[in-house]
Symmetry: C2
Subunit: 214 residues, 2 copies
């Protein structure tokens, strides 16, 4: 974090494809283990002495991992594209990401199937409405930007809640609805086994610098 | 999880105020320790042997905490109100919640100051746009429902991105704009040190069963 501004500066650390594969294979299973720990932390009813022991061991592991660490704001790039290992929705190495694994089906359509456990809860037994917005925002952005390969800024996103979304297995679909000049309109849904629970529409804008590159 | 429907059923575990205080004091520091571990997990560059050791120890702690555990979908209630310890935005015992601590300023106004670290990243150095939507959805809901004390379902929420939101210290404000029959319109913003970065408007609806109770 910059001492002067209080904000994080973004820097890039380029990786070869082989290095990116090695980094992912090494750290993604660690993030998976932390996802299990998050679930256990929310649901545990163990006694004071067990909790104290667990806390001490978690702090020791944190110190271990901090022996060598990237500064905040440093991101990986592979062949000029961002490798979003730490992304809050799709980051394989970010324990708070479910993670959502996005499948691109061509023509700007994309989809994902995932399971949301109790870490994503809002009302009891239901997915937090904002978590649905978070995932839709990401998938609409992937659709509008051709898998994040084109520069597109989110202008606005509107999310309509049809009914509560239950925790458990879900899917998200997103597609390009239409383009008008520098604007791309994308739409998407979240569904459970019985149908759509949440709909979204977003407007994504191609920045002037990207238009000048074309 | 129900075997038949594949969805989690919600159940309530009533606590006295004293029990709620004890549970929060016991488990909130555990969640804090896991938040530090999440940050270290994303940023670590330690070698294979250290990662393998860390992973083994995390799995052992998870087993320890799972010795006694609540089923998924069981929520605490204190004096008839939900105690959202596991909530994805404000849950003190949920490691993926920043947590956002909401201050109610009267007249349906509420606000929060918080710090978002690299776990909430989208574009390099910036907060994921969907994370801004997640936090705004929560705070607008708090404003519209008088601190979640009244039943209000989110109908739609629209989020407008004015510029990128930097990781670091931020604030969120929300307030009731107007009420029309069963609909409450709430608005809100996320700001960094130099001003508003994201705006939102949401429509919240009082369900028929709540109107009949009044």
């Amino acid at each position: 974090m910059s001492q002067e501004t209080g904000v994080y500066d973004a820097m890039f650390h380029p990786l070869s494809t082989a290095e990116a594969d090695r980094v992912t294979a090494l750290y993604a299973p660690l993030a998976d283990a932390v996802r299990q720990l998050i679930d256990a932390t929310i649901r545990t009813e163990t006694d004071d002495d067990v909790v104290a022991k667990a806390r001490g061991e978690i702090e020791a592991v944190t110190e271990l991992l901090r022996q060598r660490i990237r500064p905040v704001g440093v991101s990986f790039r592979v062949e000029g594209r961002t490798l979003p290992l730490g992304n809050a929705v799709v980051g394989l190495c970010n324990p708070i990401a479910p993670p959502v694994v996005v499948r691109h089906d061509g023509d700007g359509r994309c989809s994902s199937e995932f399971v949301l456990g109790c870490a994503y809860e809002g009302p009891p037994g239901l997915v937090h409405g904002g978590v649905s917005a978070l995932i839709l925002d990401h998938l609409l952005g992937e659709a509008a930007s051709d898998g994040l390969s084109k520069a597109r800024y989110t202008g606005t996103i509107s999310v309509k809640y049809l009914r509560g979304t239950p925790l458990g297995p879900l899917r998200c679909d997103a597609w390009i609805d239409r383009a008008e000049g520098v604007k791309v309109f994308a739409r998407g849904t979240i569904s459970d086994a019985t149908g759509v629970t949440v709909e979204a529409e977003g407007v994504f804008i191609e920045p002037a610098w990207a238009r000048e590159l074309e």
